[in-house]
Amino acid sequence: MARFQLRSVALTITFVLGFLMIVEYFISFKSINDLAANIRDAATVIIGLASIVGVGNITRNHLRNISRRGDNWIPSIIMLVSVWIPLVIGLLGTQNHPIYRYVFVNLFNPVGNAFFAVLGFYILSGAWRAFRVKSLDGTVMVLCAALIFLKNAPVAGYLWSGFNDIGAWIMNVFQAAGYRGIIIGVAIGSITTGLRILLGRETGYLAERRGGQE
């Protein structure tokens, strides 16, 4: 019974706050706007605090994995060290602490860059193996890809401005039209999901276990 009431409270809060935010977006009424602004301010603080839950969850899961000598327990140790050393340094000495800055600039930064740079090799490999003129569809795709690549290489546009014009035409007309359809579809999906959440039909965010248990 208590669990049922707790669920009802959570659903009611969701409905009231969600409905308030939607109404506030469309109307200009000072007291409602102020109330919504205060709730949003509070939400940013709550979201900030939620990171504590995230760190706690990661720590708990990886500690469990290490203690059980589960799959990839050594990377779990690396994970915990990577999370906790910068966290402790950041908390003790702020984000401007020299060690924190050093770790970010000289470790985190190049590792992040390297991860993204690997994409270049994948694209090259894909261009070599996958872009094949086998059918009409494939030919159109290969031609468009080649023209966009040439548009993105400024020297090509300098040699012949047509590469820029054709590339821009593909991007602004065909590509934009395709994406517009996707965006509208996503928007309709978002409205549907939002309505389902507000009406209590979608309750995944309550983190309930099977059988209605929390």
């Binding site: 979201i47 261009a127 994406y179």
Partner: protein, 280 residues
Amino acid sequence: MSSGTAISRIDVRYLFLALLIVSAIPIMSPMGLPMVVSPLTKKSFNFIEGLPAGSVVILDAQHSTGYGPELGTQYAAVFKHLLARPLKVVLVAFGAEGPQLYAMTLEGSTISGPPIDPNRYGKKYGTDYVWLGYIPGTVTAFAAFASNSWLTKTDAAGTALEQLPIMQNCKTVKDWALVVSVSGGQFEQMIAQWYSAYKTPIIFGAPGVSAPRLYSYIDAGQLTGMLVSIGGAAEYELLLKGPALAVSLMDVLNLAQILVVVAMIAGNAIHFIGRSKEKK
């Protein structure tokens, strides 16, 4: 020998080596290949040029280090432009890595280029620019910051906003003349919270992989401008008449893109040669 076999017999690592070489050569010995400024970059630049003196501009660092110079150089180029103009710049980060990226931009780094000293532009902290730090919450934070730009109560160093003259002219979204957000995502949410709700002009600094989905918003007038990838940053540096890191890296982009096109053509040529031999 089938065409598929012909392709697979060539070790793709030779291509990777070629990419490494064409990327390394221009870094070691810049070639200065020519480039043309795109209308999209020019539009963004001209909009900032046209802002009246004293206008408040929000500059958001929402990208991450993973994007490297692609977005780091955009942030640096726009920051320099805003400092060069008589504008009030409110710097904020809706991305968790923003504080570090802001510091790296001021100090100079491998992803943002040479250091930027606002004093060199005659700009005074608290009067002409302010750094509010990281605001968590993404879409909630966008909405909250729009209705209350004093959300953080203090700047990133802990100085109360009441003590900063620049913040007297920046209390809600209605005071903003422009938002420039250098970001890897959350574009639609920013448009919804800032443009759709308040008609605030927005310019995005976007990575090449995200830019395509934003052209629709440009066409619809919901987006004032956009810098696309490192090319956009390099074009911006040219417009500023101060070539920096992005321009120097354009040789790499040029050669790498052309190598990809060559790989496409060569792959197809081998495929067709192999197929014609099969028929014979």
